[in-house]
């Protein structure tokens, strides 16, 4: 039983309840114990930093301080929402970077009887913990119902790999970790160039036209590349792509139907959990038909307008010429294998 | 000069091939650093005789900065490593004499690192300013001792009593 400090974030008991329950289910299966930080507060999302830097840092600082106070054994603070993860990690980084700022924030925290030593807790995202600490082998071992035949667009979103303070991801632009996890579940990972593009965050609220355009780019790319559904690691991304897909379709006169599920929901399915215990069915863009492809039945719900999976073939990967073969094609440059450093 | 704030005097030993040239480079590039440091040029950090440091403290330096080429970049192949060994020992001796560790510092700087050397000097000066003047009981004793005995005999406890000792094994 590996144990971590856990910061759920506000959406977990409302819009992202499905994420919450599936995380519980998956962590139970994997033997990961998430110890919820006591009396945590909102991370400020992207709003508070645009009102007041110091207060925003203090707001996040309170959570860090409480986490530090509660840490025993593990100093890892796990967040499952990319926004929460970034705000926690970024604030910790900023405090560590500038002693002056740290002093100021601690002065503020003192007003609430708290203090935080920069670097005291190590903020990480749930996905990274599962990929690194739990490990893909452990995940594979627990797969009882491989998602064979399910074509998944791995959507990591922007905030998870960027700015990437501890360089924990293989890349800012095209990280491979999420793909590997989904592949480990037996699903087929479609080429998804928009993997780390932005879902628009609060744009659906403050400037819908922009927000819808960003959502359209994601959904259309996933659709064009033949995905049955998208997998996400962030409540904000899920909310935008799922809840606003209808409004987006209306504003562009399109008819995309691209379900988006939390990666923990897919893991739960692969681990053989009952779809309902994973919150499946609570998405507005119905995923059941997509899951139907691989014989996963999710009882009752509205009928789906899922188009046949083979409507569009996945985009062809760039032509690769096997070494030593002669022919008109020019060979592709060799790419580094896992762990191989590029000088 | 009690009315004026404390300005430490720091003696810096530099290597002719790297840190002294770094200092030149800092000058050519007009990089600024506090005037509290006064540099001495040696051919190599390996030339640093422990008595030089003791002498500096004895004659009123508030701190001593030793600088040489980065390990592996020594103009004389590996002499800076030997200097490093000797420095490890020296730190203990100096501590034994009741001088704060912060007053004896080692900085590697290649000939290209004028900016960096200036930054490091500034840092050291600030740290020593915080430490205040070197109030060293042993200063007088040392002065007379150094005056009496020939400088080299004071160098006797040397890091290289064994052919290739690890810093850890080195004991006076």
């Amino acid at each position: 039983m590996t144990s971590f400090l856990y910061y759920p974030g506000c959406s977990m008991d409302s819009s992202a309840r499905a994420y919450h329950v599936s995380i519980q289910s998956v962590c139970a299966t994997l033997g990961v114990d998430l110890h919820e930080v006591d009396d945590w507060n909102c991370c400020g999302a992207s709003e508070y930093f645009s009102i007041s830097l110091t207060r925003a840092q203090a707001l996040v600082g309170r959570n860090l301080a409480i986490a530090e106070r509660e840490k025993n054994g593990s100093d890892t603070l796990v967040a499952a929402c990319s926004m929460c993860y970034l705000n926690l990690a970024k604030t910790d980084h900023q405090l560590a970077e500038s002693p002056a700022t740290a002093a100021r924030i601690n002065e503020a925290l003192a007003a609430g009887g708290l203090r935080y030593d920069p670097g005291a807790v190590h903020v990480r995202h749930l996905l990274e913990v599962i990929v690194r600490d739990v490990g893909l082998d452990a995940v594979r071992e627990r797969v009882v119902r491989p998602l064979t035949g399910l074509r998944v667009a791995p959507y990591m979103g922007c905030l998870l790999t960027r700015p990437g303070y501890d360089g924990q991801w293989s890349s800012f632009e095209h990280p491979v970790e999420f793909d590997r996890l989904i592949a480990a579940l037996g699903a087929e990972v479609v080429d998804f160039p928009a993997k780390t593009d932005c879902c628009g965050g609060h744009m659906t609220q403050i400037n819908p036209t922009t927000g819808f355009e960003l959502i359209r780019r994601l959904v259309s790319t996933a659709d064009r590349n033949g995905a049955h559904l998208m997998a996400t690691v962030c409540p904000m991304c899920q909310m935008n792509v799922d809840a606003f897909q209808g409004e987006m379709n209306r504003s562009f006169h399109t008819s995309y139907h691209m379900p988006i599920l939390f990666f923990t929901q897919l893991m739960g399915l692969a681990f053989g959990a009952d779809p309902r215990t994973l919150g499946i069915g609570s998405e507005l863009v119905d995923a059941r038909a997509a899951l139907g492809h691989i014989g996963i039945e999710v009882p009752p719900g509205p009928a789906s307008d899922e188009r046949p999976a083979d409507a569009e073939a996945p985009a062809a990967p760039p032509p690769r010429v096997p070494r030593g073969r002669k022919g008109p094609e020019l060979p592709m440059p060799t790419m580094p294998r896992d762990g191989e450093a590029i000088r | 000069m009690n009315d004026t704030p404390f300005e430490p005097v720091i003696v810096g030993f530099t290597c002719n091939w790297c840190s002294y040239r770094a200092a030149d480079l800092a000058g050519t590039a007009r990089v600024k650093y506090p005037p509290n440091i006064r540099l001495i040029r040696l051919m190599c950090s390996g030339r640093l005789d422990p008595t030089f440091v003791l002498k500096a403290f004895a004659e009123g330096a508030d701190a001593v900065l030793v600088s040489g080429c980065w390990p592996g970049e020594c103009h004389y192949l590996e002499q800076n490593i030997k200097a490093l060994r000797r420095f490890e020992l020296l730190k203990r001796v100096v501590a034994g004499l009741g001088i704060e560790p912060g007053r004896l510092q080692l900085v590697w700087a290649s000939a290209a690192e004028g900016q960096r050397l200036a930054r490091e000097i500034t840092r050291v000066v600030e740290e020593v300013r915080a430490l205040g003047p070197l109030d060293w009981g042993g200063r007088h004793a040392a002065t007379t001792a150094l005056a009496a005995a020939p400088p080299d005999s004071a160098a006797a406890p040397d890091a290289n009593t064994e052919p290739e000792p690890e810093p850890a094994e080195v004991t006076a």
């Binding site: 094609e329 440059p333 | 002294y20 030149d24 000058g27 190599c44 030339r47 080299d152």
Partner: protein, 676 residues
């Protein structure tokens, strides 16, 4: 206290370089009064001490006032030490009885507060005065110069250096790691700005170098060891087994035609074409003899094949050859180890290695080269389609804190050349995506003008990404093409420009083993990995180590003219040495007073130059002055104080410490002096 030293102190204004921050007159007067008892008999200041008038001032005083020590407070000894030693010598004073105190680089240029700077200048002068009191007259050491020279690296810079020396009648060992000399230039098609064909101007030089009686060509070879010092280096070279007897081989090339294995040629063809397991990198290779690459040869893999051996008309194939270790003696060394291309896979947003039709600059050189894998056809990765639109991206891996901070100097011109070549080979529209166009060379900007006239489209903006992901519905038409997303900074708008081919103008970086090479030859590299010149402006081809020179891209990105000029410059420096037959070295050496040596042998293991020898018979240690480099480590280590280092003796350093800390002044005062 009295003293028989008669010291003159000369404080330089250096125009306003020193005088602006240091009160020169004050320093002069302070030295004249406060240091009078330390032997200072005269202190003067002058606008430019290094001027002939300034030097005459010193010479005059030496003659008239009978000075026997001189302190000049001016710039760094690395600049003018020689100058003032000259002045002393002319006045009949041993040059080593002078001392140059740096109050410019280490005082006036780095400090702003005038009183503080002036005080420090006084301390520095005081230190120099105390030090100079302990100076001793020294004679320069003279070492003979072995007329043979080692040139490392067979690119254009190395070839040029070797030819200059050889033509002057001196013997050169030219060592090249690859099977042939020629370097990167041999891979190019055209050279900017004149567009001469690279092969046409390079091959004659290669042939000349290969056949020159004064040049020993050691290709497929690497330097493995260097010992000794200027004038007298001993270098070991590992000549890798060619498995071809160069005595018998005629270079007919049948073996290459018949070899069944066709591995990817990652070096010469930049991974764009194939060679054989037995190969010469290119037809004009010098020497003409092929090499067998063990890793790909079927025979070495499973003992079968031997096609080359069977078909070689002269029986030159010899699978039993082994690496040879050669030892050569040389007086000087020229490093022309060149550069490596920045690995574009690191800039992921440009998709190199992921997107088929993204090419590196070196790949494009091979594409457009008539002797290249496509016979000069500029085509997409499919090998047939001609691009209709080509985007050339500048500054890939350069001027970027994520990769290399520096400007790679050649990329702008290289990119302009590519634009021209694309137009020459195809009807494509060409885009140049640049941050700044830098064309500071003869006829370079004119070339820029020409490319403008040819209708190349210039977009000022560093490309954000190259993608095959379509975004806007109207891009559907562009399916299968690449989209270059960039802010057109002059229009202030983000643009997505569809192209068929992207060429990345990759920057230059030091060879991956640059640091090891530097260590091997006892020189230093900048943090970037480029070799540090003795002086970036005034001594660009010398290194800090006597007898080791550097030319071409080894010291930083350069174009061909620059590399050639440096090759010649380096050889000119070497020729001067050889002509003199000997050179004078600083007499900074360690010497052992046998009467004080206890024979403890502590020093014996400290010397990396094996200059310290122990005489079992007399149980004493001795220093070989010729081998000693004067680092002084043994001096510091000797528990008996038997070893003394000329120029940096304990007495000198101790005295300088006292002076710097004004203990000298205090003593006569009987109190702590405040220099102000």
């Amino acid at each position: 206290m009295t003293t028989d030293e008669r010291i003159g102190v000369y404080v330089c204004h250096c125009g306003s370089n020193i005088a602006a921050t240091v009160d020169v007159e004050d320093v002069r007067d302070w030295a004249a009064t406060e240091l009078a008892e330390r032997g200072v008999v005269v202190a003067r200041d002058y606008k430019f001490m290094c001027s002939s008038l300034g030097q005459e001032l010193i010479e005059k005083d030496i003659a008239e006032l009978g000075l026997n020590r001189v302190v000049v407070a001016a710039c760094s000894p690395h600049l003018h030490e020689k100058t003032f030693r000259g002045a002393c010598a002319r006045a009949g004073l041993n040059p080593y009885l002078g001392e140059l105190a740096s109050i410019r680089e280490q005082v006036s240029w780095v400090h702003t507060d005038k009183p503080a700077a002036t005080a420090k200048a006084k301390a520095v002068v005081s230190g120099a005065v105390e030090r100079v009191r302990h100076h001793e007259p020294l004679e320069e050491l003279h070492v003979p110069i072995d007329p043979h020279t080692l040139v490392v690296g067979g690119g254009i810079a190395g070839i040029q250096a070797a030819l200059e020396l050889a033509d002057a009648g001196f013997h050169v060992y030219l060592v090249e790691r690859e099977p042939s000399i020629g370097g990167h230039m041999a891979q190019f098609d055209k050279t900017f700005p004149t567009l001469d064909c690279a092969a046409c101007i390079l091959t004659p030089k290669m042939v000349e170098a290969g056949s020159h009686p004064n040049i020993t060509l050691l290709t497929w070879s690497e330097v493995t060891g260097v010992s000794g010092f200027v004038g007298n280096f001993t270098v070991t070279v590992r000549q890798k087994a060619r498995y071809v007897d160069t005595e018998l081989c005629t270079g007919c090339g049948i073996c290459q035609e018949k070899c069944p294995v066709k591995p990817l040629d990652e070096v010469f063809e930049a991974g764009l074409g194939y060679r054989r397991a037995i190969y010469t990198p290119f037809p004009q290779a010098v020497p003409k003899y092929p090499v067998i690459d063990r890793d790909n040869c079927t025979y070495f893999a499973n003992g079968k094949c031997k096609a080359c051996e069977k078909l070689c008309p002269t029986g030159a194939i010899d699978f039993n050859q082994e690496d040879e270790i050669l030892t050569v003696s040389v007086g000087n060394i020229i490093l022309a180890t060149g550069y490596e291309l920045f690995d574009a896979r690191k800039v992921e947003q440009y998709g190199y290695g992921r997107l088929a039709n993204v090419f590196t600059s070196l790949e494009f050189e091979r594409l457009s080269n008539a002797a290249g894998p496509t016979n000069g056809r500029v085509v997409l990765r499919d090998g047939v389609t001609e691009p209709k639109t080509v985007g050339i991206i500048h500054c890939v891996g350069s001027r970027d804190r994520n990769f290399n901070n520096y400007c790679s100097a050649i990329c702008c011109m290289q990119s302009l050349k590519f634009a021209h070549l694309v137009k020459e080979h195809t009807d494509a529209t060409v885009y140049e995506f640049y941050i700044d166009i830098r064309t500071p060379g003869k006829a370079y900007d004119e070339f820029y003008q020409r490319v403008l006239e040819e209708g190349t489209v210039f977009v000022r903006g560093r490309v954000a990404e190259v993608t095959d992901a379509l975004r806007l519905p109207e891009e559907a038409a562009e399916d299968g093409r690449l989209i270059v997303q960039v802010e057109d900074t002059l229009a202030g708008r983000q643009r997505r420009i569809p192209v068929d081919m992207v060429v990345l103008s990759c920057g230059l970086q030091p060879a991956s083993d640059a640091k090891e090479v530097a260590r091997l030859f006892g020189i230093s590299c900048s943090s970037d990995g480029w070799i540090i010149e003795r002086h970036p402006k005034l001594d660009p081809v010398a290194t800090m180590t006597e007898g080791v020179f550097a030319a071409g891209c080894a010291t930083g990105p350069k174009d061909i003219p620059g590399s050639v000029a440096q090759g010649s410059a380096a050889s000119a420096r070497v020729l001067g040495r050889i002509q003199n037959g000997e050179m004078a070295l600083e007499p900074i050496r360690a010497s052992i007073d046998e009467t004080r040596c206890s024979g403890c042998r502590i020093c014996n293991d400290l010397c990396p130059f094996n200059a310290i020898v122990f005489h079992e018979d007399r149980m004493v240690t001795e220093v070989n002055a010729a081998l000693c480099q004067g680092c002084g480590t043994c001096v510091a280590a000797c528990p008996a104080g038997a070893i003394s280092g000329t120029g940096f003796s304990d007495a000198q350093v101790m005295a300088q410490i006292e002076g710097l800390l004004l203990a000298n002044v205090d003593r006569q005062r009987g109190g702590k002096a405040v220099p102000a």
